[in-house]
């Protein structure tokens, strides 16, 4: 342990400033996402889940930090890498897992699957799988908020791979032009599937584009959930109080492949180890231990409880029946 500790990065300001309760809450919520994703991996291997499954492991601090920066009524619009956001927003873990299983108890009744998590009441507004096409939608939610003067802020996440595609540009153009209360957050996890940034982006710093959209911007390496919370809060406040959009680039890393079918062979072990060393979730755990003297045993107990919760969620999801055959006819049109 000691030998390792010396190689680990120092604890960040965000972690130092957080209270023990805040740290404990954030740690627990990040670990819930990670254990959920690990269970999903196992279920996928056992054939319980099919289709595409994109894991959020490594990026959890973003969803948690974002949730802490939001207010009731604010909206998250995410990509297909959406489980973490749903859990962070408080969506029921059983319903999330049941959605992955394609069961009637799923978040959207089993018709959406991994890539389409929606839970309106929890501020979870998707769940989109055509790269970039949710960016104009998010601008539209913000347009409605401005039209209705309801003070709601939309936070729209996209991948580094979504920066070049047309809808992203058009959505941001309109948001900037019309001063819409939206925050665009690029989760730059350094890869678009197997392609590193250098082969997809003409200019490394994505936020340089903000100027062209007339937006403020921010860019930082994600170290912990509190830093994400505080830096996002500035943009969320700007949206709410001044009705101005912001473009934020978060430098982050996914520890797994793009999806279950990707072993991630295009990355070196050294690169992966480097990022694991400063895994924001582990940093939060260290802060609890090093700054607040929380014992290894106490953290073990938290983990055990989460493992138990997620195992129960998985079993309950598995007990949920498939949708009835007639269900496929539902919700094609709104019937008056």
């Amino acid at each position: 342990m000691d030998g390792q500790t010396r190689d680990l990065p120092p604890l960040t300001e965000g972690l130092k400033a957080a209270s023990q309760d805040e740290l404990a809450h954030a740690f627990k919520e990040m670990l819930r996402i990670r254990r959920f994703e690990e269970n999903a991996t196992r279920a996928y291997t056992r054939g319980k889940i099919s289709g595409f499954l994109h894991l959020y492991i490594g990026q959890e601090a973003i969803a948690i930090g974002t949730n802490l920066a939001m207010r009731e009524g604010d909206r998250i619009v995410a990509t297909y890498r959406d489980h973490g956001f749903a859990l962070a927003q408080g969506c029921d873990a059983t319903a999330c897992m049941a959605e992955l299983f394609g069961r009637s108890g799923g978040l959207v009744g089993g018709v959406g699957g991994s890539m389409h998590f929606f839970d309106r009441d929890k501020g979870m507004w998707g769940g989109y799988a055509i790269i970039g096409n949710h960016v104009p939608l998010a601008a539209g939610h913000a347009f409605a908020a401005k039209y209705l003067s309801d003070g709601k802020v939309t936070i729209c996440f996209l991948g580094d791979g979504a920066v070049g595609i047309g809808p992203t540009h058009e959505g941001m153009t309109l948001a900037g032009l019309w001063g819409l209360p939206v925050v665009f957050v690029v989760e730059n996890n350094r890869y678009s599937m197997g392609t590193p940034l250098g082969r997809t982006l003409p200019v490394e710093d994505i936020t340089l584009r903000a100027q062209g959209y007339g937006m403020e911007s921010d860019r930082f390496e994600v170290t912990d959930p509190f830093q994400v919370r505080d830096r996002l809060k500035v943009a969320v406040d700007r949206a709410r109080e001044e009705s101005k959009p912001t473009l934020i680039e978060l430098l982050t890393y996914r520890f797994r492949g793009h999806s279950m079918s990707d072993p991630g062979k295009y990355r070196t072990k050294a690169e992966l180890d480097g990022f694991r060393n400063r895994d924001p979730m582990e940093m939060t755990r260290r802060a609890l231990m090093e700054l607040h003297g929380v014992s290894e045993d106490a953290l073990e107990a938290v983990d055990e409880a989460i493992i138990e919760e997620m195992d129960v969620a998985m079993a309950s999801a598995d007990a949920s029946p498939q949708p009835v055959p007639e269900h496929r006819f539902k919700n094609v049109y709104v019937e008056e």
């Binding site: 018709v111 309106r120 096409n133 960016v135 939608l137 347009f143 058009e170 539902k330 094609v332």
Partner: protein, 326 residues
């Protein structure tokens, strides 16, 4: 009754709905200050202001998506495409977001909105500006598709489309905006999915919609001179489709022809023919024929364009053929 142009009927429909419901707004290129590329929004900016009549940059994917996102929040957008040709760059928004959101979210969200604008060939606009999108959109479950040919239908159907809780594709035509017709003074709605028999007849059923209605009516006149009594049915709505009216007519006349502003391969016309033979096979006295665009990109040259678009004389030939005349 007032006599209005189709463009005025469309404007009146939007205006009335905007007065009735402040969630309704109009968004698109040149809809505000310029009052519409085809002048369908005259006076609306002046009356409703920039909050509700919104000029956009040239960003079809962007403003189609903004409309969908706003509709998901409870607003009632009318998205104008300068022409449906440009909806091609917003196709993804329409088919992957608008058409899917209700189903994909287990009913949690829906997109009550209208995408409207001129569709299909006008006059000498060349191949990229002469496209008929009927088949593309009618193909997609989750969308409703309307196509209008008269001022009265345009107004009543557009008002119903704006109130519909589903995304509605609303086809107009550049060459028909100036068409005049009587429009009731009192408020009225026309239900989506109900065909209109524009001319009753006993001998052949002639199916048409949008721009092909005028062709069909002209062909019916020519046929009358030859002693053929043609029933012209304007479908008005391609989805939902009023199959009952079609089948009832075919069972009466035992013959049918489709005239379509669109291409022959796998089109709406092909679908109609398939449905008629499935449901009315025993009633048919002749194969059902289709008169439509030639299977070619549209040419600019006037003569070539004329040859590519169906003409009343060709429809007459088809009517005679299914009647074993001529």
């Amino acid at each position: 009754m007032a006599v209005l142009q189709i463009r005025e009927a469309i404007r009146d429909a939007m205006r009335e709905e905007m007065l009735r419901d402040d969630r309704v707004f109009l968004m698109g290129e040149e809809v505000g200050h310029y009052e519409g590329a085809y002048k369908c929004s005259q006076g609306l900016l002046k009356e409703f202001g920039e909050k509700r009549v919104i000029d956009t940059p040239i960003t079809e994917t962007g403003f189609a998506g903004v409309g969908i996102g706003a509709a998901m929040c409870g607003l009632r957008p009318i998205i104008e495409f300068m022409t449906f040709n440009f909806s091609a760059v917003a196709f993804d928004q329409i088919i992957n977001n608008a058409a899917k959101i209700h189903h994909m979210t287990g009913g949690q969200f829906h997109a009550p909105m209208v995408f409207r604008g001129p569709n299909a060939a006008a006059h000498m606009l060349g191949s990229t500006h002469s496209q008929a999108f009927d088949t593309f959109y009618a193909h997609i479950p989750g969308l409703k598709v309307v196509s209008v040919a008269t001022p009265k239908d345009a107004k009543g159907l557009l008002k119903a489309a704006i109130r519909d809780p589903n995304p509605v594709i609303f086809f107009e035509s550049e060459v028909q905006y100036g068409v005049k017709g009587e429009v009731p003074e009192d408020e009225y709605l026309i239900e989506l999915g109900v065909a209109d028999t524009k001319r009753e007849g006993a001998d052949v059923t002639l199916l048409c919609w949008g721009q092909s209605v005028a062709i069909a009516l002209a062909a019916a006149e020519l046929a009358q001179e030859k002693g053929l009594d043609v029933e012209v049915i304007d479908l008005r709505s391609l989805r939902p489709l009023d199959e009952q009216t079609i089948f009832d007519s075919v069972r009466k006349t035992n013959r049918a022809v489709v005239v379509e502003h669109g291409w022959p391969y796998g089109g709406v016309g092909s679908h109609l023919i398939a449905r008629i033979q499935e449901e009315c096979f025993d009633a048919l006295d002749a194969p059902v024929l289709k008169v439509c665009y030639e299977d070619l990109p549209m040419s600019y040259a006037e003569n070539l364009e004329h040859l590519t678009i169906p003409q009343p004389s060709q429809v007459l030939e088809a009517l005679e053929e299914v009647s074993y005349r001529g």
